[in-house]
Symmetry: C2
Subunit: 154 residues, 2 copies
């Protein structure tokens, strides 16, 4: 999925509304980071996002990247993952259906999957423990059983 101008405009409006609601400033750096994220596919970490932006019109600092990512996570335009490593991974989260992740224990490759039954679990736990579930993270650690699996350890 390449950069989608329509989705970006929509997402930008959501971000603007969020900034206004929190009395935060609409800086060009924040828009530039949002745009860069929505032009990326799959997962990315802070360093790779920072590196990609370093070569473009906007040279933002790491501090600004961290700051803006926090804002985007807060307003649900970006989701943050910790796939067992000490490196936060991010991905855009607007306009794509809810999904979870399976990580190959052989090669660490990440595969996405959907299962609506997770919603049921959330509902049950919500009721039982008296909590309102905001979001969740389900990660399956698994090894490929295909004979021709290419995901072999390097």
């Amino acid at each position: 999925m390449p950069f989608n101008q329509k989705i970006y405009e929509e997402v930008k409006q959501i971000f603007i509304a969020y900034l206004e609601s929190k009395d935060l400033r609409k800086t060009p750096e924040r828009y530039a980071i949002l745009e860069e994220i929505y032009s990326l596919d799959g997962h990315f970490d802070v360093e790779s996002l920072y590196a990609k932006m370093k070569d473009k019109e906007y040279r933002v600092s790491r501090a600004t990247v961290y700051n803006t990512l926090d804002l985007l996570v807060e307003c649900d335009l970006v989701s943050k993952h910790q796939f067992g490593k000490n490196l936060a991974q991010f991905e855009k989260s607007f306009g794509y259906k809810q999904h979870d992740h399976l990580i190959c224990t052989e090669c660490s490759k990440v595969t996405e999957f959907c299962d609506p039954r997770i919603q049921n679990i959330q509902n049950t736990v919500s009721e039982l423990l008296h909590f309102k579930v905001m979001h969740h993270s389900l990660i399956l650690y698994a090894s490929c059983t295909k004979v021709n699996c290419e995901n072999k350890k390097v």
Copy 2:
């Protein structure tokens, strides 16, 4: 649940079998760390485990704690979590039933819960994607809805 000598002996045998199968040495430090972990309740991080051991008969180094924890995770006697922070959390995992975690978005308090339906999801995904699921991590991020909730932000 206080220290359970019977469980510790059982767990120690599993650890010994694992060490032998991998041709690793049976050092007193490794046993001491295992024993300390099985005398702890709930979650702990490396630093607190290291601190607790510093005052006892065995003064192990951080390097040994990290090394041994890796081994214990590999042989499934300890499980490792990344609750959204850059700090690995651990807990003993033998003799207790499978459970997942709900984290309060207000105070970060961790609550455990069980739901057998997660197993069904694992099975479906296994078949669909041709993976053998070894283990999983499900974390629900939620805020307490009790009026008298004590979990208020500090």
